[in-house]
Each structure stands twice: as C-alpha cells, then as structure tokens.
Amino acid sequence: MGQKITIEPVTRVEGHGKVTIHIDNEGKILQTRLHIVEFRGFERFIQGRPYWEAPVLVQRLCGICPVSHHLAAAKAMDVIVGAGTGEGLTPTGEKMRRLMHYGQMFQSHSLHFFHLASPDLLFGVNGDPAIRNVIGVALEHQDLAVQGVMMRKFGQEIIRATAGKKIHGTGAIPGGINKSLTQEEVDSFLKGDDPLNIDKMISWSKDALKFFKDYHKTHKSIIDEFAEFPSNHLSLVRKDGALDLYHGVLRAVDPEGKIILHDIDYQDYNKYIEEEVRTWSYMKFPYLKEFGKDNGWYTVGPLARMNTAEFIDTPLAQKEFEKFKAYNNGKPSNKSMHMHWARLIEILHSAEKMKELLSDPDIQNGELTTKGTKKPEGVGLIEAPRGTLFHHYKVNNNDQIEMANLIVSTTNNNQPMNNAVNQVATNVMTSQPEITEGMMNAVEVAIRAYDPCLSCATHALGQMPLEITLYNSDDKIIDQKIK
C-alpha cells in the first residue's frame, strides 16, 4: 500500500505551508511537494488607487518584510514620475533609502540566523525539539541570544529613523525620500551606548560568521552535502559586478557559473522571465524563458547573490566573500546550507554599509526628491532578504494604478525549495520503517534555509501545531500526529 505523509504546517516558517511525501510499499519516495498558499488578491486590490499611495499600501502585504515592498514599489514609482530607473535620485534620496534597506537586511538576516538557524546548528537536526529553539539558545548560549535580540533591535531602529515609523513607514516616496537624519539620530547609531552602536554590530557580525565557520569545520557533511543540487542563480548585481542589494542589472548564472542572463535592464524583465502555473500549487513557478520550464528555474536570495556577484565593495565582507569563493573553487555553491554562510556575509556587509552611510554628510543634508517626465509604466526591483522582489505597475491618465504584478522572493524560490524537500526526503526517509522527529525536522531545515515568507500580516494568537498526516494510496488517513 502506498502512503502519503503530510507535514503541516512547516514550523518556524512564516505563513502556512505543508509538505506531502508519497511513498510506496517498499518505502521508496515517489513524489514530494511543498504546498504554499500564496495570497494573490493584493494585485487586484491596488488597482484604481493613486500611484503615489503604492509605497505605503504595499506594506499591508507583509508584516515581516514591509520595507522591501515599500522600497520596490517606490523604485517602480520613481520610473513613473520620471526620476530614472534607480540611478536618478538625489544623493540624499538614494542614500537614505539604502540605509533603510541595509537596516532591513541586517535585522531580517539576524533574526533568521539567531532565531531560526542557530537552534538547528547548536542542538543538531535530531536534537530535542523542546530545546531546539531560541529559548534553548537563550538557556545554553545566552551571549548568542542577546546578540540576536540586539542586532534585530538595531536594524529596527534604523528602519524607524529612515522610514519614519515601524508600521506603514512613509520614508520612500515617488522620486525620493521625505526626510533626512538629524545629527542626534546619526550620533545615536554611530556612538550609541553599548551595545546599540554600529561598531558593536560589526563586531557581532564578525563573531556570528566565526561561529558558523567553526561549526562548519566540524560538521562538513551537513553544511556541504545536505540538500545539495544543481541550480541556476539569479540576482541584481551592480553594473561593475559588485554585490548590490538595492539596485543593479539582472544577472543569472548556471550551476557552473556561466552567465546565462546577461546583466539586463530589469525594466524589461518580462521579456526574459515567465511564471508557470501548476494545478497542485497556488504559488507560481518562475523560470527563464530562454531555457524553458524544466531548465530555466533558478534560485534567489543570499546564496544566489554570492554566486552572481564578482566582488563586495566593503572590506570585511569582501574578505569573507573571497574565503567563500575559494572554498567553492570559484564556482557557484549549489549547497542549500551555504545559504546560512551567505546570509552571514550579507549581515556583515550590511553593517559595514550602514556605517559608511551614517558617516556620509549627504544623509543629513541635501535635496530629498527629484522628478522628470512622467511615464505610464514602471518596474522596481530590489534584493529583499529572501531574494529578488519584482514590482511592476501601469498607471492611467488619471494617475490611477491599472495593473500591478508582483513576483515575491518566495515565489522565485518555489522550484528550488521543492527540489530541496525532495532531495532531503529521499536521503533520510527512503526505506525507513518509521518517520522520526529528526527526519521531519530535516525536511523543515531544508525549507528554512530559504527562509520562505508568506503574506502573514494578519496574525492569529495561539499555538499553531505541527500536524503530520499519513495517507494510504486511496488518500485515506491512516495516521495523524500533532506536535
């Protein structure tokens, strides 16, 4: 009798998702699927609204990464107001937005590493689930827990200062920004009481990288072999090939590092990228048109960015980037767990960038906005913490939005996440007499490496359990577990 195992929902991932694994009578994995319910109503909701409202309205999408949506929408609206495609803003406008973005990247990545990833690394995939969480980290490694809390807090304060407030920030507007920083605000970040100052953040970022690299030395199999599979990689890069999380051209490389999407202007993204609909999933599957559905899918996010970029323009992160590249023999890393390594390099880079920007006088003085000849259509792309985020809008003669298309990072990672689940399930569950807690968590660890994010801004208090349902080949439930 064939069986279907459902792991629902995947713990420690935002929103709702479930994994179904079909196995035959001999325990061989027949099929795996990651089901994610993506909310698609927002694109219709925003139709008819004045275009200048978009950067604020889009933050309703997500309570986790509102800043990324805020900035991607603002970048699209820059095009519409004639302020250029990411390079036409005033120095103050662009630098304030970048500071906001690096603050977002810093806090989001820090949360992921300390809260989601470090428990698995510290206590092991097979560790006791009662302690394999951030409370366990707090009990046994209090220094790490404090660092995670304070790094997240620092990033949140940067967002508050640049976006105006933590909820529905208004900082980025079409054509620029609506405020600069005061000397007092700058001083609070540069010279704030320990530990809330930028030098401590840089120091802790280095410590987190050291923690990971030390772990890697003694756990090579899980970091290097867990959920490894060939993938294309896509991200923005600066025109000279540098890592750039805020703006650039769109580049993709194949699993061997050959450039297969050649630094295109992202205003033309829909000439190169298509989204496939599959009957069993609410979430689409994007791919590069030239290579088709089977070969054109790609990974986005921190690892993809390490694989597409040629260098990093901050010294400490560049040193770490060189070590990362050397370890992978100059080739792209196709190892899912290297996502954590890449994320930590980006934490360090973001901290260095924040210090650079906070020390720049443009952040305190200068023209805030610019504009030019209006256009009816604009695309804004940004490298959100989880990967490339696309916002595309058309406006009519009454300044109303008449079309919106969003491709969020998690959608871009749909296929690689499914591949990761399949690979791990095949490795740990094939021919096993029973599904253990450790096996289930292995699947979740693979998904968590991608840090998938769903529209979860409407929250529900209360315990949300992990539900495991076992089906036979007739889709009848033969076992169900809730933890």
Binding site: T11, V13, F114, V134, M150, K166, H168, L461, P465
Partner: protein
C-alpha cells in the same frame, strides 16, 4: 508618592487590514492621553508583530500591556495576565506575549508584570477602515485601560 511604575503600552497588528489594527489605534489613543496628562512614566510602542527584540523592550518596565485585535468569542474586550511560556509557535517570525516574557527572563533575568489586552475585531481584509462594532469595542477598551493605568500609578 514613591517612584511611579514604568509602564509600556504596546499595540501590535496591521492597520492596513481593517480590525487587525485595533491594538495600534488604541496605542495611539493612549499616547495622546499621556501627552495631555504629562505622564512621563508611560511609554507607547507598536509593531506589526511581537518579536524577539521585544524581550529587551520590556526588560526595563514594571508593567506592560500588550494590545491586540482578537478573533476570539469574547465581549468587547478581555484582559488577562500573561504567563511566561517557552513554547515556540508555528512561526517564530512573530511571537506570543508569553514567549516574549519567558525570553526576557531567560536573557535579562527580569519578570515585568505583563497583561494581554484583547479587543474583539470582525473583519480582516486589505482595507484601512475599521468596522463600526470594532470602533465601539475600541472606545470601551480605551476607557478601561485608562482606569487600569490610573490604578497602577496609584498603587
């Protein structure tokens, strides 16, 4: 009168999704009230969700009121004392008040007195306008919370 208690009123939710913003709006009302009353010992804060940094934010407070919209079958509002809980929810990209309190104790060794204030909501779509029923509940909750705060100060 001795030292006044340090009180934090912390609303969370998404005001872009109708009644989900009840906690945020109540926080704004309290902020206005404290300004009028010149109460420097009361701090207000808000966010989409609670998260780990809030363990730090509550660590130097005597009393904390978390305020949230509720789908529960309650009257207009409900207040309950928060018990520390090490239980990690389905998503730790947001966290429960009990989890925040537990983390605060584990990291900082502090146990502020924490309450969770539920205000009943009804609609949760992508709209900013709250329902009339929710607005009525908000007014009642605000009056009650003001009384609560006054009692805390009088202790």
């Amino acid at each position: 009168m001795g030292k006044l208690p340090e009180i934090l009123i912390y609303g969370f939710g998404n005001p872009g999704r109708q009644d989900d913003g009840l906690g945020i709006v109540l926080t704004e009302m309290v902020e206005e009230w404290t300004r009028k009353e010149s109460l420097s010992n009361i701090e207000v804060d808000s966010n989409y969700q609670l998260n780990i940094e809030d363990a730090s934010n509550i660590s130097d407070k005597d009393v904390v009121y978390f305020v949230d919209a509720s789908k529960k079958e309650i009257e207009s509002f409900l207040i309950e004392e928060v018990i520390p809980s090490p239980k990690v929810d389905f998503t730790t990209h947001s966290a429960s008040p009990g989890f925040i309190l537990d983390l605060c104790h584990k990291i900082y060794g502090k146990y502020p007195q924490v309450y969770l204030f539920h205000i009943k909501g009804y609609e949760w779509e992508f709209m900013e306008e709250m329902t009339e029923e929710a607005k009525n509940n908000l007014d009642k909750a605000f009056q009650f919370l003001i009384m609560e705060i006054k009692q805390q100060i009088a202790k």
